[in-house]
Every structure is written in structure tokens, then in C-alpha cells.
């Protein structure tokens, strides 16, 4: 398994590994693209903290910072996972073991069922565990503790306890890891009452949502797209918590709404650039959390633009887009001038070979084409 450490970053990069711009997205996110100038809208809810003191850090560093701050704030926060002490794979947990000790930050054997289950138990006993699953695909081994236990315990025990557990995991393709290391499985979890799902698309949201997840009294699944880890973006100094259930408008526009999930927000932004060259103004909205889903902000945008494309990296069939599409049409049916379009991974496993992988994964051109189709512009 490829391991990302300081020493072999370069090699990773040479092989077109993690975070390399194989995909049509710049490694640095332009501030104007991530909502610095366009304020976050959230169904009339309070705007986020003023973002005056900003600095550019990577998505990984934003997540690491969230861990450091929350572990400092609350000694009940503990971290478990495979190779987390050295943060040996993607680097999110770096420095935690040294700072907080190996009681609070511990390596585990390769026992996904065991460690997620142990996270549930520690949460039942009053701790706030964060369990790292090395690749989202491996979460399938821990479906029982997540779906049958964590999501249901509070309910089925009549509200006698809660399960403040965070499971974090890198999902998504673009790095040639093949069918069992590239999936986006968010839709599986969105379906289950009792668990929340977050999928940040930039460093600021990564930090804000991670802090919110740790403070949440419910089980939360944090899906971190591998391609985002090395991406840089502006993050406010100091405490930064992004409430769940508030979508963000990442770029304003009037002709069509592009709803992007996680990393696909960047395909939407790139598509919006291309569309702008043809005089089409696209609005890009990021739900940020899939459960709860801020249907209101999504529908509000569609009521303005009258057209909508949903872009995700999970598979098309019964995907995140299926759910968002249904929810948006229920709220904005009378405003729609075209069927809602969905762009997603094709319905095949994610192949390893770069050309094939690119073919199966959604790309900017797919988004542009879908948008033009909805607008009745010839492709």
C-alpha cells in the first residue's frame, strides 16, 4: 500500500500520486472560489464568523489543526486508528501522539470492526472518540457498529445515552488505487437515521466541519476526498466551527445551479469558469453536510436559476444525487425549466488504469455538457 510520508511525497508526486493535478483542478484553491468574497448563505441562519484573519493552509493541515484544538479543549477527545501515531498514511493525525500521549492517540491493529465498535463503546462511556478508517472502502468491515449500533443506540435505548463518535475516512478516486481504494460511499450512510455525514470541499470547511463533528453528540461520518488533502485554501485564524446542515454558495451565478459534493465542487467551479467564457453564469452550491441536508439553500438557488445539475463522485444509481434531485424538485418543481441533471461516477467499479479511471469518474467536461443540455445550448 502506498504510504504518504514527508520523505516520499516527492515520489508520490512523480507517480502522479495524491493531490497531484491529474484532475482539472488547481492544487491551490483561489480564495474567490471558496466563498471568501461570496458570503455563506444558510437558510436565513447566522452567517459564519467574520473571516478577517485568514491564512492559506492545506486541507490536511486544517484537519490536523481541528484535532489539536479540540483535543486541547476537551480531554475526552481521543483518537484511534491504524498508523495514526506517526500519521503515516495521509498525515491528518500528525503531532497528536507526541502532544497528547499514546493513551489518547493510539495505533490499533487492523481490526476495523473492532476499533469502530470500540469507538462506539468509548462514546457510550462518555468519551468522544475519533476513529480513522484508512480508506473509505474499509468502512464496509465496520458497517455493523456504525449502522446497527452507533446510529441506533440512542433511539433503541429510549434516549438513555448518546454516541458522540466521529469516524473519519478518505474517500474518492483520481489516484489510481483501483476498485477497492477509490470509492465514495456517502449515499450508503445518508440513508440511515441517527448518523450524520459531512463531506467538506475546502480547508476552511474541513476544519469547521471537523470541529463541529467532534462537538456533536451524534455519530458523524467525515468523508475526506483524497484529492483534497494537499489542496491549499484560506482558513480563519482561531476557533472556526461550521454548523452542520448549512449549504454554502461557493460561487454566485444566475443561469444554472451546480450542486457539487466534496471534491466535485471543484469540477463544478472549473465548469463554471468554462461556462462563463460562453456567457453562462453558473452558481455553485456545496451542501457541505449530506445528513442533515440543507434542502432549503439548494432549492433557493434553483428557484433563482431555474436549472440544476448535481455532481457527485459516488455512482449514479441510488446516489447522493438521486436524493438531492428528489428533494430539490419537491421544493422547487414549479421553478424548474429543465429536468434536474446528475453527473456521477459511471455505474462500474473505479478502475485503476488512469485512462479508464478518468473515464469512469466525473470530470469538468461532463459538468459543462450536462449544464449546456439543461440550458438547451448545443454541446
Amino acid at each position: 500500500m502506498p504510504v504518504l510520508t514527508k520523505d516520499n511525497h516527492e515520489e508520490q508526486d512523480r507517480h502522479g500520486g495524491l493531490g497531484q493535478a491529474q484532475r482539472p483542478v488547481p492544487a491551490t484553491v483561489n480564495n474567490s472560489m471558496i466563498g471568501m468574497s461570496s458570503p455563506t448563505r444558510g437558510s436565513g441562519k447566522k452567517p459564519e464568523l467574520e473571516r478577517n484573519e485568514m491564512r492559506e493552509i492545506t486541507f490536511v493541515d486544517a484537519l490536523t489543526e481541528a484535532h489539536h484544538e479540540e483535543m486541547e479543549r476537551d480531554e475526552r477527545v481521543i483518537v484511534m486508528g491504524e498508523d495514526v501515531e506517526l500519521a503515516y498514511v495521509f498525515g491528518v493525525t500528525k503531532g497528536l501522539a507526541e502532544k497528547f500521549g499514546r493513551d489518547r492517540v493510539r495505533d490499533t491493529p487492523i481490526s476495523e470492526l473492532g476499533i469502530v465498535g470500540a469507538g462506539v463503546g468509548a462514546a457510550m462511556a462518555g468519551y468522544r472518540p475519533i476513529v480513522e478508517i484508512m480508506f473509505m472502502d474499509f468502512i464496509m468491515l465496520a458497517m455493523d457498529p456504525l449502522i446497527n449500533q452507533a446510529a441506533k443506540l440512542r433511539y433503541m435505548l429510549g434516549g438513555q445515552l448518546s454516541v458522540p463518535l466521529v469516524v473519519r475516512t478518505p474517500g474518492g478516486g483520481g489516484v489510481q488505487y483501483g476498485p477497492t481504494h477509490s470509492q465514495c460511499l456517502e449515499a450508503w450512510f445518508m440513508q440511515i437515521p441517527g448518523i450524520k455525514v459531512a463531506a467538506p470541499s475546502d480547508p476552511a470547511d474541513a476544519k469547521g466541519l471537523m470541529c463541529a463533528a467532534i462537538r456533536d453528540d451524534n455519530p458523524v461520518l467525515m468523508v475526506e476526498h483524497k484529492m483534497l488533502y494537499k489542496m491549499k485554501g484560506a482558513v480563519p485564524e482561531g476557533e472556526h466551527v461550521t454548523p452542520f446542515g448549512q449549504a454554502a454558495v461557493k460561487r454566485e451565478g444566475g443561469d444554472i445551479t451546480l450542486i457539487g459534493v466534496g471534491y466535485q465542487v471543484h469540477n463544478c467551479l472549473a465548469a463554471a469558469d468554462e461556462l462563463a467564457e460562453e456567457g453562462i453564469s453558473a452558481e455553485v452550491v456545496d451542501p457541505r453536510t449530506l445528513a442533515p441536508l440543507d434542502t432549503e439553500t439548494l432549492a433557493e438557488s434553483v428557484r433563482k436559476t431555474n436549472r440544476c445539475i448535481i455532481v457527485e463522485e459516488g455512482h449514479l444509481r441510488s446516489g447522493v444525487g438521486s436524493e438531492i434531485s428528489a428533494a430539490v424538485q419537491e421544493e422547487a418543481f414549479d421553478y424548474l425549466d429543465a429536468p434536474i441533471g446528475r453527473v456521477a461516477a459511471l455505474d462500474a467499479p473505479i478502475p485503476f488504469e488512469p485512462r479508464l479511471e478518468d473515464f469512469v469518474l466525473p470530470n469538468t467536461a461532463n459538468v459543462v455538457d450536462a449544464a449546456k443540455k439543461a440550458l438547451g445550448v448545443s454541446v
Binding site: 480531554e75 475526552r76 481521543i78 493513551d103 489518547r104 493510539r106 490499533t108 491493529p109 481490526s111 470492526l113 473492532g114 476499533i115 469502530v116 465498535g117 470500540a118 469507538g119 462506539v120 463503546g121 468509548a122 462514546a123 457510550m124 462511556a125 462518555g126 468519551y127 472518540p129 455493523d144 457498529p145 446497527n148 449500533q149 443506540l153 440512542r154 433511539y155 433503541m156 435505548l157 429510549g158 434516549g159 438513555q160 445515552l161 448518546s162 458522540p164 437515521p193 441517527g194 450524520k196 456533536d216 453528540d217 451524534n218
Partner: protein, 330 residues
């Protein structure tokens, strides 16, 4: 827990007095009568869903829980009424849960297979076979971190010992020396599947060797034997010695669940009768040399408690439909 509970003196297993043993007999009888009533209610259609009674296995529940303090935790299984009662779970609210009332421990959302009473250190019946062991591991981790000296006991069956979760959990508890006691009630069957067919080892306790932890097999019909083995495991756990595996050889006198007959296609009447000769209540009564009058007095007191619990449950309001949508999120 944010507050670090005071570390208790690591208690040497206390010697059972006659008074203790009398209380243990009483507790076993409470379980026996509760289960008989539950079975009766189930057959009459008053308790709905799936019910797995533990008649025959009372010595396991009571032997273990007698060795625990109130703050210690148990996690149990689909066959968990006995463990619940032995740990002090409130009987009226438990009966209300079985009858699906709003006053039930789980507000009529869990039922027989998900009984829990957190206020008594009962962290739930978990009816996915084997699911409770990773959770017990995490609770043990929490207790170790808070330095409270509490222990977590996880009950499971012979069938569950073949789940991967058992092995992952034993290993985690062993490498981290967690205060967790794995208590396997080997009642010889997983539904209809005999342990000799399901399990590669004769004594499940030997599996502890694979995790460099103590494993013992005890007579699960002898409440004192179960108590002593558990007390030793608890002592070890409180002193930081790590997990233990206790296998209690036992037998369920009733069918697996919901009206499954006591004997039939997978076991003979002779086999059931043979085990019934070793009824844990009879063994305890003989140890105590209980007279008929004393037994009657126990029964009278237990039935009064049980009838009060039933009255409470029957007099409780139904759960509202709206309540089915509550407590999904904290």
C-alpha cells in the same frame, strides 16, 4: 466521563456468606419467575416480537453480577433478561418494555432484545450476535483512561464466539490490558447448531491462549463457581492485568426463542431431562439447605415483586405514535 472517578481499592474477592448465597438464590428465582411469566405472556400474544428466555442459565447471570459493583458495566445479548435482572435493572420498567408501554426502559422502541438500564450499569442487550464485544472493549478503554477501576463484562454465547468481533476484541483488550471480562455462556447450541459442530475447540476458554490471557471453564450451573471465577477476573481487571475469558458450561431448558419447543428435531427429551437434574436453583437450594417453608417464602416475595411489576406495566399508557420519531438524534 469528564470527572475522574476515584480509583477503588482493588477488592480481594470476598468470601460468600450464607446471607450472600441466600440473596443469590433469591436473584436466580427472580429471573426464573420473570422468564416463566415472559414466556407465558409471549405464548398468550401479550409480549410481541422475539423473546429468548434464559431459564436454566440463571447461575451465570447471578454469579457474574454478584462479583460486580453498581458502577461496573454489563453488555448482554438477545438472551439478556437474566443478566438485566441480576445487574439490578428495574423490573417494572423492564416488564413495561416487554409489553411495549411508554414507561418501558427503552420507551417501547427496543423490546426484549434491546433492554438497557444505564442507571444500573446495564449498557444494553445487543441482538446482533457478537456486536457487544467491540463495544465492551471501548467501554473498558474508557474505564482505563479515566482510571476509575471500573470493569466491563460482556456476555455472549457459544455461537457468538465464532464471530470475528470476539477475536478482534480479545486481541484489542489483551494488547491494551483493558478491564474487560468476556463471559461465554456455552449453552451448547446456537439456535439448532450444536457447539461441537460449530466450534473447532472443545473448551471455548482455550481461545484465550491465542490472546495471552487467562481462560477458564466453569460449571455454569453452580452459582458459586461462576461467582468465584468472575471475582478473580474482576480482581485481575481492576489491578490492570487485562481481560479474562470465562466459559460457563450451561444449558437452556427452553427452546431458542418464540415458541421453539424444549426438545425436538435437534435435541432429545433425554438430553434436556439430564441437564434439568442440574437445575442451578436446586443446586443453590441444596447448598443452602433451604427448607420447603423457606423456599415458599422466597417464592412469595418474588411473586409479589413480579406482580407489582406487571401491574405497573399494565397500568402504563401505550407509547404514542409521535414517540416513534423521538431520540433519533441527540
Amino acid at each position: 466521563m469528564a470527572t475522574r472517578a476515584k480509583k477503588r481499592r482493588s477488592a480481594k474477592p470476598k468470601r460468600l456468606t450464607k446471607k450472600d448465597l441466600n440473596a443469590m438464590y433469591r436473584n436466580m428465582l427472580r429471573i426464573r419467575r420473570f422468564e416463566e411469566k415472559t414466556d407465558e405472556f409471549f405464548m398468550a400474544g401479550r409480549v410481541k416480537g422475539a423473546v429468548h428466555v434464559s431459564i436454566g442459565q440463571e447461575a451465570c447471570s447471578v454469579g457474574v453480577c454478584t462479583a460486580l459493583e453498581d458502577e461496573d458495566a454489563i453488555l448482554t445479548t438477545h438472551r439478556g433478561h437474566g443478566h438485566s435482572i441480576a445487574k439490578g435493572t428495574r423490573m417494572p420498567e423492564m416488564m413495561a418494555e416487554l409489553l411495549g408501554k411508554s414507561t418501558g426502559l427503552c420507551k417501547a422502541r427496543g423490546g426484549s432484545m434491546h433492554i438497557a438500564d444505564i442507571s444500573k450499569g446495564h449498557y444494553g442487550a445487543h441482538s446482533i450476535v457478537g456486536a457487544n464485544m467491540p463495544m465492551a472493549t471501548g467501554m473498558g478503554l474508557a474505564y482505563q483512561l479515566e482510571g476509575s477501576g471500573r470493569v466491563a463484562v460482556v456476555f455472549f454465547g457459544d455461537g457468538a464466539s465464532n464471530q470475528g468481533s470476539f477475536h478482534e476484541s480479545m486481541n484489542l483488550c489483551a494488547i491494551w490490558k483493558l478491564p474487560v471480562i468476556f463471559f461465554c455462556e456455552n449453552n451448547h447450541y446456537a439456535v439448532s447448531y450444536h457447539v461441537e459442530r460449530s466450534t473447532a475447540v472443545k473448551d471455548i476458554s482455550v481461545r484465550a491462549q491465542g490472546y495471552d490471557s487467562p481462560g477458564v471453564t466453569v460449571d455454569g450451573m453452580d452459582v458459586v463457581a461462576v461467582y468465584e471465577a468472575t471475582a478473580e477476573a474482576v480482581r485481575r481487571a481492576r489491578e490492570g492485568g487485562g481481560p479474562s475469558l470465562i466459559e460457563a458450561k450451561t444449558y437452556r431448558f427452553f427452546g431458542h426463542s418464540r415458541g421453539d419447543p424444549q426438545f425436538g428435531p435437534y435435541r432429545t427429551k433425554e438430553e434436556v431431562d439430564e441437564w434439568r437434574k442440574r437445575d442451578p436453583l436446586t443446586i443453590a437450594a441444596d447448598m443452602l439447605k433451604l427448607t420447603e417453608a423457606q423456599k415458599k417464602a422466597h417464592l412469595k416475595a418474588v411473586d409479589k415483586e413480579l406482580n407489582d411489576a406487571i401491574d405497573f406495566a399494565e397500568g402504563s399508557p401505550e407509547a404514542t405514535l409521535e414517540s416513534a420519531l423521538e431520540d433519533v438524534y441527540a
